[in-house]
Amino acid sequence: MSEKVDGITVIGWLRSEEILMLEEGFSVQDDLFLAGLDSMAVMQLVVAAEERFGVQLQAVDLTKENLGTAESLAALIDEHRA
């Protein structure tokens, strides 16, 4: 079983993939949309999540609630890995 994905991991991953430029001190509960997550970044995120975490996020998964914070995104990815 693979390790649980948490918000911190997601923040590091979003930064390293250059999907979002998150400021120093960006927390797992801060709003990713305010940090610039737009539809184009979401597409990259979905593609990158498949490569990094082996999950295939579907269109129905892509809601404001699921993508709103690093924490919620981590939970979504985790759910798909289960």
Partner: protein, 414 residues
């Protein structure tokens, strides 16, 4: 027939329009030469549909105009046309603009100037100095013509005249990427929440092998008109297999074809996947793909990214650049660099002047700046300002005066 004018403006994009109108308002006899059949450049021919750089960067609730004169006038006319005011995006204010309104507004602006002649369908193909005057060769539908002028403003976007007059110019090794903007109609509704699901559907289309990976560069924005959207597809510019060169016809041709191919594929795919898109269709292709950066002038001074970052100000500044550096060196969305404390940066008059020629000014996205600074000053709000300044300077010079930044600021502000 050879026309003889005080000021010739080459290219009628946002910068050239501002230059031509402002020079004629000073009483100069002006000719504006434009190869398309309408004005506006990227803002019309390439369907770029927001004015950025009009307002100061700030967290204050109300958008505040950064530059008086032509940019403010344009903003007012556009707001009257669309009924839409500036939209706040974080600390940025952008004004939605519609290319069809832009074309009409430009027509009205130039018609109001009795000393301004616009010559459309006229591609400038050569420029040279002869006995102290500029000779401009142009081509229209197979015939060649000539215009003589005292002063030239190059607002061609691509610094097309630089090689002809042997002036210094450069092309950055890693240019901002181009994009293909197109119109869509027939989408039943486009609520904001829907964007995310649409993004997911496009990825599903790519996974299924129906769409190419290039579709990852796509985003949609409502045009402000009922049932109309714009799609913007960021492209690498390397569709021909060679490195991106916005001055090479082979690369440009591949860019146009690929833009249309991916856009058609996406709309067809969404028609299948989303009930709201069942009747959607591509309603408009641009006259040309959007080019963010190409050949730039190397003028008397070069404004740098470091100066934009610091919010530098200058004695001879003619306008303020307020848009942060929006780097688009790949197709994965913008990377932003904001100035400290959201400061505006002054653009020196000498960024619009070139060595050796006092009777030549440049304006728009190809003024003398480095690659990073260009990522700020290319936006249309700033192009209106540099165009305005170049037009005023050209009129002063043609009238026998010496353009100074302070007198230009005074005229623009009055």
């Amino acid at each position: 027939m050879i026309r003889d004018v005080d000021v010739a403006v080459i290219g009628g994009g946002s910068a050239g329009l501002a230059a031509a109108v402002m020079a004629s308002r000073q009483g100069a006899r002006v000719m504006l030469l434009e190869r398309q059949g309408f004005l506006g450049g990227m803002g019309t021919a390439s369907l770029v549909h927001t004015f950025c750089g009009l307002y100061l960067l700030s967290s204050a609730p109300d958008a505040e105009m950064a530059n008086p004169g032509f940019p403010s006038e344009m903003a007012g006319r556009m707001i009257a046309a669309t009924g839409l005011g500036p939209i706040r995006m974080g600390r940025l204010d952008v004004l939605p603009q519609h290319p069809a309104d832009f074309v009409r507004i430009a027509d009205e602006l130039v018609k109001a100037e009795s000393s301004l002649t616009v010559q459309w369908h006229t591609e400038v193909v050569g420029v040279r100095k002869n006995e102290g005057r500029w000779e401009i060769d142009w081509s229209c539908r197979g015939s060649l013509g000539k215009t003589l002028s005292t002063v030239i403003v190059d607002a061609s976007g691509d610094a097309v005249t630089a090689p002809w007059i042997g002036a210094a110019h450069e092309v950055a090794p890693r240019l901002q990427r181009p994009a293909y903007v197109f119109g869509i109609q027939g989408v039943r509704s486009f609520p904001d929440e829907r964007r995310l699901q649409l993004a997911g559907m496009l990825v599903e289309g790519i996974r299924a092998g129906v769409l190419s990976k290039a579709a990852l560069g796509l985003s949609f924005r409502p045009s402000g008109r009922p049932g109309e959207l714009f799609g913007t597809l960021d492209l690498a510019g390397e569709e021909s297999g060679s490195i991106y060169d916005p001055l090479d016809p082979v690369g440009l041709s591949a860019l146009e074809a690929e833009g249309r191919r991916v856009a058609s594929g996406v709309v067809a795919c969404l028609r299948e996947m989303d009930p709201e898109w069942r009747a959607a269709f591509v309603s408009q292709w641009p006259a040309r793909a959007g080019i963010r950066e190409s050949r730039r002038w190397v003028g008397r001074v070069c404004l740098t990214g470091a100066q934009i970052e610091a919010g530098s100000r200058f004695e001879d500044e003619i306008a303020l650049a307020t848009w942060p550096m929006e780097l688009r060196e790949n197709t994965r969305g913008p990377k932003w660099r904001f100035p400290v404390e959201d400061r505006p940066t002054g653009i020196p008059l000498d960024c619009l002047r070139i060595p050796d020629h006092d009777d030549f000014f440049v304006a728009g996205r190809c003024i003398s700046v480095d690659h990073e600074a260009q990522a700020s000053i290319r936006v249309m709000g700033t192009c209106f300002s540099t165009g305005q300044a170049a037009g005023l300077a050209a009129a002063m010079k043609a009238g026998g005066g010496e353009p100074t930044a302070s007198s230009m600021r005074r005229i623009a502000g009055s």
